[in-house]
Symmetry: C2
Subunit: 310 residues, 2 copies
């Protein structure tokens, strides 16, 4: 791995990955439409930045693949909650866009294709922690459906020997440059009114999270041996939304009154429990180094130091 | 079930389904772009036929949903072999088109959504006969990837209580109006030169097939109890491509010399063995009534009587 392309490289995970790849001596090219990516995140990476859209700028995408040996395809719609307001969006931005990247990579002779999938593909899992090889899950969100769909198309590319694919099913990722999800929602609420916090659901949803440093290390270090392989990534623990709210308030020095929308899930397709079995990634030599509590607190500190993100 | 819409209703399975639904007293509407559907197949059905494309004519599709209680979504690209010449086609015709149908159905208050998936979603299965609840399979074709992708999006629709979805994973279907696959390929070769037959692969590929009468009965009789449910459909037996070639030649009264392209599969993504566990469909009261041999022979007879299809 020497010449790499990161789609979504101006985003939260992508820009952290870019920084680390530059640090270890890679030539980093970024392809991003800056719909949610930010120029501020690229000030440190010294990357070759190409502005382009994976759906609209297919020729530019193909040009950007020239000389690349490893593609990290991170660009995606990552807004799980809003799926039903735009029922086509996940299919285009997460499936068709992935096919465009895979096509361009295969035609240009890229070897390794690294894909950011999601733990959401397990829907309402029946086994916890959830391993990679569960029975075909019933999808509960358009987002999860779009990501397992993209995995399937990439597996077909691998089977046809057009690419070597490593897919990672993430839990939610936290850390510097984090810009959407419950932590920023809570900080935003508390910045507006420090006396109260409203939580979607009953606050007992149990979720695993992972620090972006741990995530990036996996993306760089773990590779499929052969055609297509998939690895869960997450901390081997979970926290409740209520615990997370307390950690966030404590970093901000606040003690808000908490109210709840009620129910055991925050929105249609939300999961009351997410905890992934990460033994397969551990066997590949990877392990998380940051706890959920330290990840949440680190995220809040970064948001407060970079309050333009609010 | 009284007012039904069949997408792809001018096709092989769709038109057989339309005939049977009319026979049992349903009002049948058909939405078809006639890319592979044929007007000849609709002469007997007395259906309300709307010509339209699921990708291009979304307004017409929505109009066609008015008053419908059950949608049978059969329209699809069904050419598994040719996927790599058009690597986007399965994604658009089988995923985006399915989302368009699901959107239109949900908005218009359709209750039941019946979806034609495929046994190809199991890729190279490790368990035979293959049950519905195997571990998440690794896709081996763009076609299989597109069908499991569509299943996932439909499951999300069901989870959000927008539709009740019954998905069927078919083996290959044979019978009157059959118009693509190895049987017609072999008849076509033998019609051109009765003395020889060329088989892709080594002829030992073992596949299950099903007669369209058996398929249609399942589509009409089996329904998901709740949100999303999926059923394998196929005969509980398999035949080799070589056996099938012998049956075809015998109906045609021929004894051709057979040559082989070699290898244990006919094309990239072909599977050496397909045999589905159909116990779940049996528990729902369904069973096949036609053997593979009788299905192959019935297909050849229909082709010979309708040789315009060649």
């Amino acid at each position: 791995m020497r010449n790499v392309l990161i789609t979504g490289g101006a985003g939260f995970i992508g820009s952290n990955l870019a920084d680390q790849l530059v640090r270890i001596g890679c030539n980093v090219r970024i392809f991003d439409n800056f719909s949610t990516g930010r120029g501020e995140f690229l000030e440190t990476s010294n990357a070759d930045v190409r502005r382009g859209d994976l759906l609209g700028d297919v020729d530019e995408l193909r040009s950007a693949m020239a000389g690349i040996d490893t593609v990290f395809h991170l660009a995606a719609n990552a807004d799980v909650r809003d799926g039903w307001n735009n029922p086509d969006r996940d299919a285009y931005q997460n499936v068709i866009a992935t096919l465009n990247v895979a096509n361009a990579a295969a035609v240009e002779g890229v070897i390794d294709f690294v894909f950011s999938s999601t733990g959401s593909i397990y829907g309402e899992a029946e086994i916890f922690p959830t391993p990679e090889n569960v029975a075909i899950p019933t999808q509960t969100s358009l987002y999860g459906a779009s990501k397992i769909a993209a995995e399937g198309f990439l597996a077909a590319y691998a089977h046809a020997k057009k690419l070597r694919v490593t897919a990672f099913r993430f839990v939610s990722v936290l850390g510097p440059r984090y810009s959407h999800g419950h932590v920023i929602d809570f900080v935003r609420q508390l910045a507006k009114d420090p006396s109260k916090l409203h939580i979607l659901g009953d606050g007992n949803q149990r979720k695993s999270y992972m620090h972006v440093e741990d995530c990036v290390r996996a993306l760089i270090d773990i590779r499929s041996d052969s055609g297509f392989d998939v690895f869960n990534l997450g901390t081997p623990e979970f926290s409740t939304v209520n615990s997370s709210a307390r950690w966030i308030a404590s970093v901000m020095g606040l003690d808000p009154d908490i109210t709840y929308s009620g129910g055991d899930r925050g929105w249609i397709g939300d999961n009351p429990l997410i905890l992934l079995d990460v033994d397969k990634a551990k066997l590949a030599g990877w392990t998380t180094q940051r706890s959920i509590e330290s990840s949440v607190k680190d995220t809040v500190k970064w948001i407060l130091e970079n309050d333009w993100i609010l």
